[in-house]
Symmetry: C2
Subunit: 448 residues, 2 copies
């Protein structure tokens, strides 16, 4: 069975029509959800870019592989490091099982040569090495600084305002990358990869730049949506996803290809009108509230996957484990993995083996979900002047009954807090944290 992961960037839980958005039309993803499984309790490994992608690629909490840091949180164009060579990526794992592996899109696990996708198990790479808003060339002034780019100037930006490079393999082939056409070109590259490898098991990792700011679309999608420029960008992404599914059908590969769609973290709320929505979930990107780490997720493999809405737990780290099992590739035994095999849910609608979620931020365990219950030991807002609060008695929410985390039930349920604390104790007894690899910068400060 082939595998395709389509990864959006900063897409909010509530940004797709099938996940409740009233203004943005996403017919391709909606159909994908209807024909496949729509997962409503699916999490990422961190609420910002680099550690979330590290979790996806390694099947491990990013605290284990050095990709979780404070205060940098993500890799920057002046970062010295990247995902350690010692990590086994999903691409390397599937290569062992004989898969062809291709990566298209945003990597953000190290832009220096040793850390690029082609040195982490991918046969080919075409994409940008870090976020599309890095390398800003536009002059920022007080009152017209970084955040104003998205809240005020979002529809006046040009691709020349960002000196982001486009790579093929390890070579820069375009700079600045033309972000107007990049989603289309990512899709072209992906389809070419699919067609080239149609007679061979393959793994394709397509990580779109958008809807992370800056927002650019193909000319055809400009003004297409009632949801504004943000809506246009999401609607183009939906269209580009549709092209991938269409290509699979044309090549007769839809029956033996498992496609997963999700995003790296929740909406970047301080970008205001340039950001998405977490729907009814609380807060967004950067936080360990549900809006930061629960993502709209769809599994698709018509005829193989039992269609339906899945409210059980899953995470991006489970893909490493699940794909390995499906591909018949033994899991590495020399390291702790954080994934579960979800294939029973996908193919037989069994209940998910995952019962817990760990919400790490900046090298600390902020919150833990066990079944329906989530305990916050530390809370902190996403961006700007935010207070970090340590909760001696953790905040406790039933996030199934109260997904907006409105009603703290800690006082009524000390026994659940005790259970979660015991789980944490066991978790921490086995936790080996790798030193912070993101803190080393080659020069100066970063934006933002």
């Amino acid at each position: 069975m082939n595998f395709i992961i389509i990864f959006a960037d900063d897409l909010g839980y509530g940004d797709l029509s099938s996940f409740g958005n009233p203004s943005i039309l996403t017919p391709n993803l909606d159909r994908m959800a209807m024909e496949g499984q729509k997962w409503t309790n699916f999490y990422v490994g961190a609420s910002v870019c680099t550690p979330s992608r590290a979790a996806l690629m390694t099947g491990r909490l990013p605290i284990r592989n050095g990709m979780m840091s404070s205060p940098n949180r993500v890799l920057y164009p002046n970062s010295a490091n990247g995902l350690p060579e010692s990590e086994i990526t999903l691409a390397e794992q599937l290569k062992k099982a004989g898969y062809k592996t291709g990566m298209v899109g945003k990597w953000h696990l190290g832009h220096k040569e040793p850390y690029l996708p082609t040195n982490h198990g991918f046969d080919s790479y075409y994409g940008i090495p870090y976020s599309n808003d890095m390398d800003i060339t536009r002059k920022l002034t007080p009152g017209n600084g970084y955040w104003e780019l998205w809240t005020k100037l979002y529809d006046q930006l040009s691709i020349e305002d960002f000196n982001v490079p486009l790579l093929r393999g390890t070579e820069i082939i375009e700079r600045p990358a033309n972000q107007h056409t990049i989603s289309e070109r990512y899709t072209d590259e992906s389809i070419a990869f699919i067609r080239k490898n149609k007679d061979h098991p393959f793994f394709l990792y397509l990580a779109h730049n958008f809807p992370h700011v800056p927002l650019f679309t193909n000319e055809r999608f400009k003004g297409s949506s009632k949801g504004g420029l943000y809506g246009d960008v999401v609607e183009e992404m939906d269209y580009q996803v549709g092209r991938i599914l269409e290509a699979l059908k044309e090549e007769g590969l839809d029956k033996n290809t498992l496609v997963v769609f999700t995003s790296d973290n929740g909406p970047w709320l301080p970008t205001e009108i340039s950001g998405g929505t977490a729907g009814q979930l609380r807060d967004g990107k950067g936080t360990t509230w549900e809006g930061g780490m629960r993502e709209p997720t769809i599994f698709w493999a018509p005829g193989n996957i039992k269609p339906g809405v899945i409210t059980d737990l899953g995470t991006t780290m489970d893909l490493f484990t699940t794909f390995s099992r499906i591909a018949g590739q033994e899991l590495p035994k020399d390291r702790e993995l954080d994934g579960y095999d979800l294939s029973g849910v996908l193919f037989n609608k069994e209940s998910s083996p995952r019962k817990e979620v760990y919400y790490y931020r900046e090298r600390e365990l902020y919150a833990v979900r066990l079944g329906s219950f989530k305990a916050h030991f530390i809370t902190k807002g996403g961006y700007g002047k935010v207070e970090k609060l340590y909760h001696e008695v953790p905040l406790l929410y039933n996030v199934d009954q109260d997904p907006s985390e409105r009603f703290n039930i800690a006082e009524a349920h000390p026994e659940i807090i005790e259970k979660i604390k015991a789980l944490v104790k066991e978790h921490e007894s086995k936790m080996v944290k790798m030193p912070d690899m993101l803190k080393d910068l080659e020069s100066g400060r970063n934006v933002p």
Copy 2:
């Protein structure tokens, strides 16, 4: 063509799976949305029960028919009045076109005999005359008062705590109504009505009591949902809707019956865990924010309705106009109607003729939507200690791009405010308000 309106009570915009709920499973309504049209910008005539139902039944803003009041807002068991006889209900209108008419469920437009459904155009009636939380028999004490029933005691209530009557025609046949079985019995009655009239054009108005508090379900649904008791109740409603659609299919009536599903107003947020969610929409029941008046709405008529997601505007008042046109019944000429004919959207996916929405509350015009833009002239919270604010410069939101009403753009768009003000001027020049018919009580104060 037959017509069925299924009306929920206090259902939030985000309470159905297809409208983004992560915990509550509503497979029947989701399938209905997929086979039909899912409307994401569909409004009610008021954000509380009685005036909203008056708007639905008459196709007119409730300010025109006396059913909009301050401070009572809705009818109570000690109210003296009801919907004036001079009003033409949708049932009377369709009767003129030869339809059989049946009403099942909560009426709330007057419980005294002259105001009951059978005196307002319905051939038959089976249901409760006002809200299921009225007639409280349980002793309320300070600290264990009205709101604590829903926030603290919600799963300890029994049907004997509410002395609500169940009527057939104009006779009380059960008191207190057994609310555990009432959704099932409403559906049984509805299906009996459908089968009885299968060879004749019919109009059925089925108004469920739930998910308005108190929450009761059939024993089979107790604990069925991850969404708690509220989720159980919504999942039972979904199941009961499925039974109606199934019966239509069995009788071969699905091809010539138009079914509309919506709710009377948004979620009752102060009931906390006993209430729903408006998803990303702001606030809820009682307010003129989007969460109060925009409802999850589905039109279904397989083979007749062009399936899809509709982001154009519609309101419950449009049903009077639309059904009349489809039934070939001329609209009354002696009064102002507030509806538009939506049949072009339903059958041909034309754009909606409706471009504006008036948000009235307590006899005043609080807000107006024109196209994507909504101006708030007055704002006020839903319940409790809430400040009423008159905005000299109205708050202005682009509710397509910003459905959560977060970013006031009044300063940047005075020209849009001028346009909306001109619309208001014209609207008010033709407005004849009927005196407040809800203010007259036969005794004492009401709860809440």
